[in-house]
Symmetry: C3
Subunit: 347 residues, 3 copies
């Protein structure tokens, strides 16, 4: 793919400053730009690079005034960062515009496929599955019986959805994501052998959800594990049975949420956090990485850290003293000596 | 599937109270019951729901005496919870009763399959593999050369078993589970380049073991990594080479056990726990979530927390003081001032 | 496979002590040796086993002088441990010497395969992919469009490489490894809905890298996530977008590295460590398991522990006092009482 500065400027509703016929083929960071690359300048601390970059075309803010001579052609727009992100998105869509059904794939006779789908080789679509329009099912994906997948959703290679689960529209499930494996439910008998409690619920994933590689979301014992609209989950995350995660909450990699916990909307949860089962986290709560949450958080917007976690400001102040503990012990020892001396004097 | 109250009552050896011909098609929680649903009442704190539930059929304890009028038909049994769990199990077995060999699948000519197996499309069964009776191998599963799988075991879509490993009977391996990848064994040379130590042992999984989604159990360098009878592992767990886990031990999600460690039987290990290599954990030990175990635990039934972990009661008492550290420091400062004042007075 | 003591001795350039015609078929630890097994004695603390082992053949150091009668044949070599590791490697290569293209597999017409490759059934090789010589692609592996794989690299069953990524030569990617899934990049809009930032960069893995089961390495937003020559990653590790890991660094299981962080060479990082984004870790740094790294580490060879981490010696001294905190509080209380008493006396 090759585009001229003019074509891109028209797409972004910008204005061209320099050679409008210069052609670009790739996207790069401004400090790594090569001839034929398109890049952008938004953060003022990168400004110096615009005088040295080898890129052929740079998107800049309308307001940008160069202080030295500039080699690349410029496209001036309202917001250079947003325009560049928009271009990334278009580039990505062109790159990943897969269509058609590759062979061999396995599509049950009772499954229903929407229009314009991509079904990669070795993908499996089970009985009575319903697949929306423009869904991309990459190679080696597994869609169990009775699964529903909404329009415009992408399942990358090897994503797996167990039977009876529901995935919304405009979702992205990355490779190795497992939706709907059995929740971890067992009851011990007298010999401490664990009897399985069958997990016959499902997982419901609403629209505009993205789930990272190798994350696991277990099906409910009864009812549904629910991931609300707009949730973004990173890689290697564990969501246990009957959990509910509120709208637009984002969770970083390797965090785990135990069974039946309900997390509010607009929360931001760091990486490697552990959250126990059967609690409630209020809306807009922020949890620092590696924290352990052992009880409900009821105050909206609370920010916590630690294992077990408490208010992040208090935690940071506490940790400052923690690092001085050997010194503190020494001061106590000295006090004890001084007191002992004083008591001898005053006795 | 549709059943009458009488059919279910017969199955559970219960007695019907109300319309014995009412038909049910699904299972639900009592607070979410819809017409056509079967539910149960066991925990007294849910009793109020039996007067408002829309479910058609409720399993209750024999001893239950309603205080108001009840709409649904009741089935009275010895233990409502156990009866319901039993129904879940039957429901689950009917739902997942897959049989036959889907095409295309790959079964080596030298592999042996038992009776009544399910082999999903795109599943791979390697040379000399021996598969027991009634084994369910879902689509995209990989069974390496010389692997042995016992009777009644289920491998969900995309589970992978490397060559030479052994899986017992009545086991469940969830999607993305990896059995028998190489242990992490390298020795540095003079230039600090790491030379691989070939891992030629295997993994042995005994009977009645369940392993969650995307967990990894590495093969031994020599000999075997061993998961004993009745062990239950949650999702995203790492078990390193030459580890042994004792009978009926349960481990929650995202925990990791380093190489050559031996864990006793009947242990309960929380989520996100880390256990170093080459140590021994006694029987019936309990480890709180996010703990780090850096040394052997020799006392049977010990309960520990922290990183590094120690007795859980001590840990909790310690953490209470930890949270007050800034205050403690202030008290020490005040003591120092008071002592200083006193010394001036007494000098 | 069966070999005589003489054949193995010739291979190792050793000398035979005993029956040179004795035949062996397997490798084992000295304490578990059975007739027909080959084992070794290197660590003096295992010496006693050489008098009781049932193994048929034992590799020993040249310098070994038995104190009692020995049943097995001995092979004397310069370094028994290194010779045995060398044999493990040969044994492993023979066991895993897969060749040829199994059917059905999917190889794009525009892909190029080197000589002597193994392509397992249900493996997928995308458009314009370039696969080197002697590459082993196990069943159900996914190689996206434009991917480059170097010579002698092995991808075990179900490893997945997204489009445009580059894997060097002599690498090993274990089952479930995901190379090149999208980095976790979103920007919130006014309604706190997160807009995806397209991730159009790639992952570059240099030569002699090994990556464990179910680890995930995200593609860069722009440019490349880079894993340098000789890096060894264990299982279930998360490497975020635009990270760079220096040569010969080793990382244990379940560790996570956030976006744009640069780790030096020859580092040793324990399991379950979390490292924040946008920082730099110097060469030869060691990080204890479960630590949290919240800021750059600039001193070469620094060893740290804790969350947040600091010098490991200081951490250990601090933790000793931490465990005594309830006692420390008691001592402060006593001091306060004593001071109060003293002030009354002196007032």
């Amino acid at each position: 793919m090759e585009f001229t500065a003019r074509q891109i400027s028209d797409l972004l509703q910008g204005t061209v400053d320099g050679d409008a016929d210069v052609k670009v083929r790739g996207l790069s960071k401004i400090e790594e730009g090569k001839p034929g690359d398109l890049t952008f300048l938004a953060n003022p601390k990168y400004t110096s690079y615009i005088y040295s970059t080898k890129a052929s075309l740079v998107i800049v803010n309308k307001s940008f005034v160069p202080e030295h001579k500039i080699m690349p052609t410029l496209i001036r727009v309202e917001n250079a960062y947003e325009s560049f992100v928009h271009l990334l998105e278009i580039y990505n869509q062109i790159q990943k515009d897969k269509k058609g059904i590759e062979q061999p794939s396995f599509i049950s006779d009772s499954a229903k496929l929407g229009l314009d789908c991509y079904i990669g080789a070795f993908a499996y679509v089970g009985n009575n599955a319903r697949i929306g329009n423009n869904v991309k099912i990459y190679p080696q994906v597994y869609i169990g019986d009775n699964v529903i997948i909404g329009d415009n959703t992408t399942l990358f290679s090897g994503a797996k959805v167990y039977s009876d689960c529901v995935v919304g529209s405009n979702c992205t499930l990355h490779t190795g994501t497992v939706i709907g494996a059995d929740g971890f439910g067992f009851t011990p008998n007298r010999e401490n052998q664990y009897q399985k409690v069958a997990q016959i619920g499902n997982v419901i994933i609403e629209d505009h959800v993205e789930i990272g590689a190798n994350s696991t979301i277990d099906r409910a014992t009864l009812g549904s594990t629910i991931i609300r609209k707009g949730v973004k989950l990173d890689n290697l995350i564990q969501i246990a049975h009957n959990v509910e995660i509120g709208e637009n909450t984002v969770i970083a990699a390797q965090t785990g949420v135990a069974g039946s916990t309900k997390i509010g909307k607009d929360c931001m949860i760091g990486g490697q956090v552990g959250i126990v089962g059967h609690i409630t986290i209020a809306d807009k709560v922020k949890i620092a990485a590696q924290s352990g949450i052992g009880a409900s958080i009821t105050a909206e917007g609370e920010i916590v850290q630690g294992s077990p976690a408490f208010n992040i400001g208090d935690y940071k102040r506490t940790y400052v003293v923690f690092r001085k503990l050997p010194l503190l012990e020494k001061r106590i020892k000295e006090l004890e000596q001084m007191i002992s001396d004083l008591r001898q004097i005053t006795s």
